[in-house]
Symmetry: C2
């Protein structure tokens, strides 16, 4: 009902609509309309009321409400219906929340989205800072019938999709992808991706792609230890805020496009899309694995997304995991 | 205390030891000794008592008690200490039980072992029949710092280790491995392996290798639908029972050897060990994937354990998952 009241206000905006008219249209009491208006105001919607004219919507908060996200979205799998979007004002971690839903059988395309994470996680057990209302914390549940070894492709896919999603909303930013999936602007991290999987040896049960983006964070929003290595779209975009709603919608659209394209075209296009934003290949790098620390030139990607490194003596090695430092 | 009483009985067997002597040695009351003897008898140990001579151990049940399993085992990682062995008379699934322990931080090398599974699981959501006391249901927790795509190697490793473990205890059986990990004797399945993982895109958090072996099952122990496709060591071993304790110990020993060797020598030796029992390569096969059904000749393994199939027209393809039928 709340969403229906909101829709009527939106349809009529910037004009007024009376409580009586809404009550009649929706087949409910005027008291019910009034209660829903109050709830919407609590949610942050700006609704003016004047005794004779009725109600008027004058502003929509930039919060990640499912109804706002889904508005411009034309996806077929990811967040393709309102019931596939789990929204949290605050959550420990969207990945953890979505994992619980996945274990209970949530369908492919379900997403978890939060204004704030209290225990946001990054790769290798690190934490991820996500203060309220400044960033986007978004997790996506996919269930492709593939082997666990195919997972890295989806991480590369996500990195490319998020880059394009940001570019659509804030054109002109120079975003580069450091292998496998760090989005950097002027060498600082603007987005991190954490993909987690549950699988048999040769079959994925599900994969959860967690995306954390620093959107409208000011410098003071970053903890001291991150000020030099992290940035936000706002900071790089002439200190202009971007709509988190539009950005989320843009990213979900790209992810849905890419994910469906993968099944039509195979993995080749993912590598090609990723390479458009590549700042790793062709460079001298050091890779830290759990056993080694090797320096060489990043010369390419394997068909499954591994990084191919050429050492000084010309030997080539494939890396399926590791932490890259650009030299 | 129960284990200490058992140890004293074993040390003295086949001679008697008096309750008084045990009480004195262990620093407990004679009543305590007596209660522990009763508990051991309930566990299936054959203990004679005679009023003047005391107690005498005359038989040990072929149950998978940690104290019995660990006796001859010289492992360094897998089940290398009694507290790493979780024993169940009955459990829904040893993989599920061990997964819960793993999520709570159980260390590498922890195993779960059960006399009976009420909800044993196989690959691709299938069930696995494991009646009480006839088979071995065993799950092993490993935490190698590797990528999810390396998982299939450990499945192949397990198939080879179990084959050798069985050969040590029941020599002369002709066990063949159908890719990736079905152990067959005369085309019937004697052992199934279900490997499950939790991981990030490029780092395993843990892998759980579940092993189900039909050891002393008679034909009537199999459900009707399995009589033609399953077999047991007993049935293939001239209807002679083998010790489940010894077999478990033998398999754990081989797995521990192989797992440590992997880190010293790399994956090459796993492929070589696997190939010793190969009944897939060099044969005409059909592979069912989630999308295709392809017939061709199995010509080799990729370095990461994928099956390489050559089609009629000479094109070669790699398969990371799928169900193989031997033609």
């Amino acid at each position: 009902m709340r969403q229906k009241v909101l829709q009527l206000l939106k349809d009529k905006s910037p004009a007024h609509i009376s409580g009586e008219e809404m009550a009649r249209f929706l087949g409910v009491s005027r008291t019910s309309v009034w209660k829903n208006i109050q709830a919407l105001q609590l949610d942050g919607y700006y609704i003016e009321s004047s005794p004779r004219l009725g109600y008027r919507l004058t502003g929509v908060p930039d919060l990640l409400y499912p109804a706002e996200i889904i508005k411009g979205l034309q996806s077929r799998i990811i967040a393709s219906a309102p019931e596939l979007i789990c929204y949290f004002r605050q959550v420990d971690s969207t990945n953890t929340a979505l994992k619980n839903l996945a274990d209970q059988g949530a369908p492919e395309g379900t997403i978890a989205i939060a204004e704030e994470q209290t225990g946001g996680r990054g790769r290798l057990g690190r934490s991820w800072s996500s203060p309220a209302g400044k960033g986007i914390s978004l997790s996506i549940l996919l269930r492709p019938s593939l082997a666990p070894g195919d997972t890295p492709l989806f991480t590369l896919m996500t990195a490319a999709a998020v880059t394009q999603g940001i570019n659509n909303v804030a054109p002109g930013l120079s975003i580069g992808i450091k292998w496998p999936n760090d989005l950097l602007i002027s060498r600082r991290k603007v987005c991190g991706i954490l993909t987690e999987i549950k699988a048999e040896a040769d079959l994925l049960h599900y994969l959860i792609i967690g995306i954390g983006i620093n959107v409208n964070s000011k410098l003071e929003d970053f903890p001291p230890e991150l000020k030099k290595i992290a940035t936000s779209i706002y900071l790089e975009n002439n200190k202009t805020e971007v709509s988190r709603q539009k950005l989320t919608c843009s990213i979900l659209q790209k992810l849905d496009d890419f994910y469906r394209r993968y099944f039509l075209e195979g993995p080749g296009f993912i590598l090609a899309e990723w390479k458009k934003y590549n700042i790793t290949l062709g460079r001298k790098i050091t890779i830290n694995t759990f056993r080694d620390r090797i320096t060489g030139t990043a010369v390419g990607l394997s068909p499954r997304g591994a990084l191919i490194l050429e050492e000084k003596d010309g030997t080539r090695r494939e890396f399926h995991s590791g932490e890259v430092t650009l030299r």
